[in-house]
Subunit: 253 residues, 2 copies
């Protein structure tokens, strides 16, 4: 497939590499910054542009991987070509594209992607949605060339999925940082916690979280929880977080 | 070394197996439940007792791996032998033992241990503390027979470490469960999130959490956060959690 990538961020970078590796042709990479466009275009053997009027219409797919706020303005520019056009956003409705482009879709990779960290794309779940059955099938086939985990997910589901991903990824990562900070205050290294973090995530690969919950809250061990809260006396926000999260665990247990 | 295990829970089970595999001899396993004592004793080729008066004093180490509340009563029973005695608790002071037994210590494995899940013990950090230098060295040597990651950690540090472990393990696991629940409400499977959870933990094995934070909060993407809060309108506790955690990420970013 001939694919044009709009954007040069984390998602654009990982997706264009995955498409390239699967044998697709990246026609152009657009970014507001020519430097960023050129950098990514170089890696995937494509043309670089920083102006949407320079779009080459000889393409099969416009893939929009830009900040959510920037999707609508880009769609407005691309509407005149009426090519198959998708966005990659978990939080944006299909309608943002389908209102002005007939063959519209969503191509949402459910993974935390950083430029500095490679990822085995075949393991990344890709959630697709099309404006009609033919588009859905076409996107499904495309997704299957880069991932072994392709799901048909409608816009309502995707919004909840995106929210769930915040709870499963962004918030745990923040809590890792809180833990690191607590260790630093007592001159201990984050290395001490790394095996624990990994094992916690590995456990739920084969179990449900509630079945492998450990710690003072699930045992309703009030002495330990009180001692922990006392240690957080000078961190009112963390103290509040500790209480809320522990209450959640106790309620579930 | 001849080791007597007091307890038959997750920590007792994993530690006695690790000691056995490293060539130590488990003398006896004590549990209040003879069934549990016998089950673990069978696996590590030891005697089983459910009464502390049946303790065989021909041992080099009493390892107390019971609930925190039960440590002090056990120490009272064991004090008459004046053998090297350690507990395995993150939240309990060394003094709980050293007040009545001269050779006292702590042997705290920093991992989330469930009986249903095997773990490569060599990767588990073990935090040790001794009542004097000789005890510390003895425990350090013992720990090095089962783990490649042995740390000398005093009681004040260990309490903070235990708290940090709650933030790095117990709370993230709870959030995984919240995510699973959100998916279920929209008929989506937890399987969709498993690669994301694993990748999030793998990322911080080589990076610091703050350097790989993703999601709407770190971008200060208010539209998405508002949309997420709206989805949580009927879950006031989760809504409050979402706000607190997002504010924490924004503040750090």
């Amino acid at each position: 497939m001939r694919i044009t990538i709009i954007g040069s961020g984390n998602v654009a970078t990982h997706l264009s590499a995955a498409f390239k590796n699967a044998g697709h042709r990246i026609v152009q990479v657009y970014s507001r910054s020519m430097h960023n466009a050129a950098l990514l275009a170089y890696h995937v053997n494509a043309g670089a542009i920083d102006d949407l009027t320079q779009i080459n219409p000889e393409t099969d797919l416009f893939l929009i991987a830009v900040n959510d706020d920037a999707i609508a303005p880009v769609v407005k520019e691309l509407a005149k070509y009426q090519k198959l056009t998708v966005h990659t956003s978990g939080a944006t409705d299909l309608l943002t594209i389908s209102a002005s482009i007939q063959k519209a879709g969503v191509f949402y990779p459910l993974q935390t992607l950083s430029k500095t960290k490679e990822v085995e794309f075949l393991t990344v779940p890709v959630c697709i949605e099309g404006s009609d059955d033919a588009v859905t099938r076409e996107l499904e086939q495309l997704a299957q060339t880069i991932s072994n985990h392709v799901y048909r997910i409608n816009s309502d589901q995707r919004k909840v999925l995106h929210l769930a991903a915040v709870f499963a990824c962004n918030f745990p990562n923040y809590l890792y940082g809180v833990a690191q900070q607590l260790l630093e205050q007592q001159n201990m290294e984050f290395d001490m916690l790394r095996p624990l973090i990994l094992e916690t995530a590995q456990k739920v690969q084969n179990h449900l979280p509630a079945d492998v919950q450990t710690g003072p809250a699930v045992r309703n061990d009030e002495n330990t929880m009180d001692a922990h809260l006392k240690l957080l006396d000078e961190e009112p926000v963390l103290k509040e977080l500790y209480k809320l999260l522990s209450q959640g665990i106790i309620k579930k247990g």
